[in-house]
């Protein structure tokens, strides 16, 4: 509520003659977190762009040869030309139908395919590479950098063109159905709330990008939570401090607490759709290894293998997955997940080390392909360890459907939670301390 009042006060004194005067005024009062800036800009563009009426190829501008126009944009990066090409491309190829309640994804795809953007980008990149080799040779000092910078420029300009196409389509949609209706179809979740097992490749790269600051925030919160517990009163230091106040102990000094770091054992299912989720989760946890006195991670499909070193050396889930490919033989990849066997092997390797301070995390969907569940092993693990948590990327309603053995495993766990997004994972880790 306060923010809305502030926003209105800011709008009162906003500078409307400036290009982004209104946007700045609303942004600084309504958006209080960096992750929300993207969403804000999208929604702002919906409601506050000058609306363009749907029109055929504009008469006052001569029709462009689109292929030449795209090539020119990739060469020079002219914003106006990109916009004009986008408008013409959308008018010719998007097959826009008034009144259809869509988000415009197909229009965009058709337009870009018809403009042959990917093909022209590849051609331009080849031209750039060829021109570089000609002059001074590929190993001349600074040559590599120059080529790389030119390549980046080309991809940037392609992104510029794509952005313009998207904007033109958005404007048409808003002119057609009004901003409220279009805003409803946007429905783009924040990166940390995307379901990992169902994310597309671009989304996975996005998630990977936000994982580092998230890990940092999580580690800081955890370390502070632990450090804030004060130890017992340090009598000697208190008396010493009291000398400054005339012998009166006005300030009580405590011992620094010696935090007991828990030990963490992670067992992750690496089959099929759960593999990506497991890779992200274990990468995140391994990146915070300084919070735990001992951290060992295992993956399994049919046999459990220790992968602590793999995750220790890399912060990139993609690379970790490829490295794990070496641990897991090809025959296993095609085989069926065997939870019982994996639990047995895990218990065999680690069981003796488990104690009250140990926490066991199991990542998996508990779908054991109707093989024996071996819940006795799990109950044995739970007996020895301080706590056992099961993180399941499936929603709770699906937990007992088909070959899922959650009902058998759940009673032995301290808690079984649904965990699908980065935020879920973060909240869980904060909770277990």
């Amino acid at each position: 509520m306060t923010e809305r009042v502030d926003a209105m006060r800011a709008v009162e004194i906003a500078e409307f003659d400036k290009a982004d005067g209104l946007r700045t005024a609303l942004c600084c009062t309504l958006v209080k977190s960096a992750e929300h800036l993207g969403v804000f800009n999208e929604v702002f563009d919906l409601y506050f762009r000058p609306q363009a009426a749907y029109r055929a190829v504009p008469e006052h501008k001569p029709a462009l040869n689109l292929e030449h126009a795209v090539r020119a944009v990739l060469r020079d990066g002219s914003d106006e030309l990109a916009r004009q090409a986008a408008e013409q491309g959308v008018a010719e190829f998007a097959r826009f139908e008034a009144g259809r309640p869509v988000a415009g994804v197909m229009y965009e795809r058709w337009t870009l395919a018809a403009l042959r953007l990917d093909e022209l980008v590849a051609q331009r990149l080849a031209e750039v590479a060829a021109s570089g080799v000609g002059t001074a040779g590929p190993d001349a000092p600074g040559q590599r950098l120059r080529l790389q910078l030119q390549r980046t420029e080309v991809t940037d300009r392609a992104a510029l063109l794509r952005g313009h196409v998207r904007k033109v389509i958005r404007e048409l949609l808003v002119a057609d159905r009004g901003p409220d209706a279009v805003a409803k179809t946007l429905r783009q979740p924040l990166t940390a709330d995307i379901d990992i097992s169902m994310a597309s490749r671009e989304q996975l790269l996005e998630i990977q990008r936000v994982m580092e600051p998230l890990r940092h925030k999580l580690a800081t919160t955890m370390m502070r939570k632990r450090r804030n517990r004060t130890g017992p009163v340090n009598v000697r230091a208190t008396l010493r401090a009291s000398m400054a106040t005339g012998g009166v102990p006005a300030r009580v000094v405590h011992h620094r607490p010696r935090p007991t770091k828990p030990q963490l054992y992670v067992l992750a299912d690496m089959s099929g759709s759960v593999a990506t989720f497991a890779a992200f989760s274990v990468t995140l946890i391994s990146a915070m290894s300084q919070l735990y006195s001992r951290l060992r991670s295992f993956v399994f499909i049919q046999n459990a293998a220790e992968v602590t070193d793999v995750f220790r050396d890399t912060r990139d889930p993609a690379r970790a997955l490829t490295a794990i490919g070496a641990y897991v033989t090809a025959s296993e990849l095609g085989g069926y997940t065997d939870y019982g066997r994996a639990l047995r092997q895990f218990h065999g390797t680690v069981g003796r080390q488990l104690e009250r301070r140990s926490t066991v995390l199991i990542f998996g969907d508990a779908r054991g392909n109707y093989l024996p569940s071996e819940e006795a092993t799990l109950s044995e693990i739970a007996r020895r360890a301080g706590s056992v948590y099961w993180l399941n990327p499936e929603p709770g309603a699906r937990w007992d459907s088909g070959d899922s053995m959650m009902r058998a495993y759940q009673p032995h766990c301290t808690a079984a939670v649904t965990c699908r997004t980065l935020n879920d994972l973060r909240r869980f880790i904060e909770q277990i301390g």
């Binding site: 004194i13 600084c28 600074g142 950098l145 996975l204 940092h216 925030k217 502070r224």
Partner: protein
């Protein structure tokens, strides 16, 4: 003579309202103070000054958040009062503290006096709890300053959530409640800047009372201007190359992407060495000045290697 001190006083405090009247004048003022701001930054600073609200500046390290506050103070000719936050800071370091030692000495000295009455002290704290024994810390200082000031609360995200609550009263109502003295209200409303590196989420109550500005890495054009201003003698092509390189490095998934200060460092290095070309190998100077972690240097070196590996692809799921 009484007239003279008055004159110097007025001259020292120029009318600042005009300087913040709109984006253009703020931008010009900051440029005169040596800070190259873009329209968004100038606009938000202008709004914060006119609305009288504190400004929360968030962003990656080294993008000029603290420098912004300093430049605004210089531009408005106001004193800069700085509170450097750290974990474990409490109100005795941020707001005020009673000078116990002086108080004890005063009691011991006054004990011999006939008018000294211990009961009167306990009842209304007369003589012992007054402003002469109050040590003012930055926040209280900013409020009680005889001249309007700029208060910079640096790295507020390092403070515990509980301590943030202490700042709320100052930020929202510009007053500090001292139990023994009552409420000390502001003589002049200070311009408050809070900077944060986003290592943790700040509390909602704090964010609600502030305007928000995200200082991201500058765009290539602006970075070019900043480098040209910092290192005037560097060749144009070299500046372009440098800015392009830093831009590319920031798109990689590095542990610590290079910030503006590192760009300026490398520009100065190149100028001092009289380099004509920007060379890049693992052991070369460039990467070692810009990046601060060994793994980052390796990742950057691999990514800048040409031809066969243009993009890192996500492994295909079967």
């Amino acid at each position: 003579m009484a007239a003279e001190p008055l004159e110097t006083d007025q001259a020292a405090v120029p009318v600042t309202a005009e300087r913040f009247a709109d984006t253009a004048s703020v931008k010009q003022g900051l440029a005169e103070a040596g800070y190259l701001a873009d329209d968004k930054i100038a606009g938000v600073v202008s709004l914060a000054a006119r609305l009288g609200k504190p400004l929360l500046v968030e962003g990656p390290a080294g993008t000029g958040k603290t420098q912004l506050a300093k430049s605004v103070a210089e531009m408005a000719a106001r004193p800069l009062i700085r509170l450097q936050c750290y974990e474990g800071i409490d109100e005795s370091k941020a707001l005020y503290e009673w000078d116990y030692r002086k108080q004890l000495l005063w009691i011991q000295a006054a004990r011999g006096d006939e008018t000294f009455s211990a009961d009167a002290i306990v009842e209304n704290g007369k003589g012992i709890f007054d402003e002469r024994f109050l040590l003012t810390r930055p926040m209280l200082e900013a409020i009680r300053s005889p001249r309007p000031a700029v208060l910079l609360v640096d790295e507020v995200d390092r403070v515990d959530a509980e301590t943030e609550a202490l700042f709320l009263e100052v930020l929202a109502e510009q007053q500090v409640s001292v139990p023994e003295l009552g409420r000390l209200t502001a003589r002049h409303v200070p311009l408050v800047f809070l900077t944060s590196n986003a290592t943790r989420d700040l509390s909602e109550a704090l964010k609600r009372r502030c305007l928000f500005l995200y200082l991201d890495y500058p765009s290539p054009e602006r970075e070019r201007e900043i480098v040209e201003q910092a290192v005037p003698g560097l060749a144009r092509t070299l500046v372009d190359r440098l800015v392009g390189l830093v831009d590319t490095l920031r798109r990689l998934n590095l542990r610590k992407p290079p910030s503006v200060s590192e760009t300026i460092d490398l520009a100065r290095t190149l100028y001092l060495l009289g380099a004509a070309e920007l060379d890049l190998t693992d052991s070369s100077l460039g990467l070692n000045v810009l990046l601060k972690y060994r793994e980052d240097i390796q990742v950057a070196g691999a990514a800048l290697a040409p031809a066969d590996r243009l993009h890192r692809d996500w492994p295909r799921r079967d």
